[in-house]
Amino acid sequence: MGWRWFHEWGSPKWFYDRAGRWQRVCGFLALALLLVGTLWGLGFAPADYQQGNSYRIIYLHVPVAFLAQALYVAMAVCAIVLFVWKMKLADVGMQALAVVGFGFTVLALFSGSIWGKPTWGTYWVWDARLTSMLILGFLYLGLIGLRSAIQNPDQAGKACAILVLVGVVNLPIIKYSVEWWSALHQPASFKLTEKPAMPASMWVPLLINLLGYYLVAAYLVLASMRTVILDRERGSAWVREVIERD
């Protein structure tokens, strides 16, 4: 039983078929959850007594920012799987995660920046979380650039894996040092989520949105992986069959 599971995950064809189904499920669930969560957060959650209505941005910003970091960690897991078990699927996952992760990082940066205007008066502040997010964006960009620069896909995969692993070890160090740097130069009142405990009517939609964006990311990553698999396995018989079927 254990070996069958291992072989299944090593087979691109098996994954391509399954992922198609998972992708659809994730997509629909994500849509439903985001609709409910966003409308709830925008329309039905009570206004914050400090920030008024502008805090409603957190229903997008917080899940997206969290996912931007989580997707990087997921890439690191793929890198380990690639090196230890030599599963090519892990490299495909890494490739897909880089693009989706970068998109989420950009979204987190812009949403955080726009939220800054009513809260602090300017569109950009060098606070710890925004600065860390910016550096995370550069890390993602480096990965995407490296992947596109190396022609051989196996080599590109391994090179990106090395970069991800070095990056993931550095990530907590970077975050810690940026927080330290920020505390040195700015008063503590610049914290983004320094709030008293939220009532349930506020954090329940946040949770719903978190789950929704997580499923959106899953949908995007699975869809992207399937495309990469098609391209990489284009010489094989099962791909020809799939193309002819459609």
Binding site: S111, W115, S224, R234, V239
Partner: protein, 65 residues
């Protein structure tokens, strides 16, 4: 506990005074995520088209081989 926080749809859209910040953020979210989804779909179709072209090219050469 759960009730609509705004007394009219117009006020909901205004989100006074922060509507001008909130709605662009969510619009951007829709743009980025929707854009990614569309782009990935487009890549998928490009990949299929490319493979089909390769298959056609090979089948043309086959009778001559």
């Amino acid at each position: 506990m759960i009730e609509f926080q705004f007394d009219s749809l117009f006020n909901f859209l205004r989100m006074a005074p922060h509507g001008i910040y909130i709605w662009p953020v969510y619009g951007l979210g829709l743009l980025v995520i929707g854009g990614l989804a569309i782009w990935i779909r487009y890549q998928h179709r490009q990949a299929i088209r490319k493979i089909r072209r390769i298959m056609n090219r090979e089948s043309i050469h086959e009778p001559k081989a």
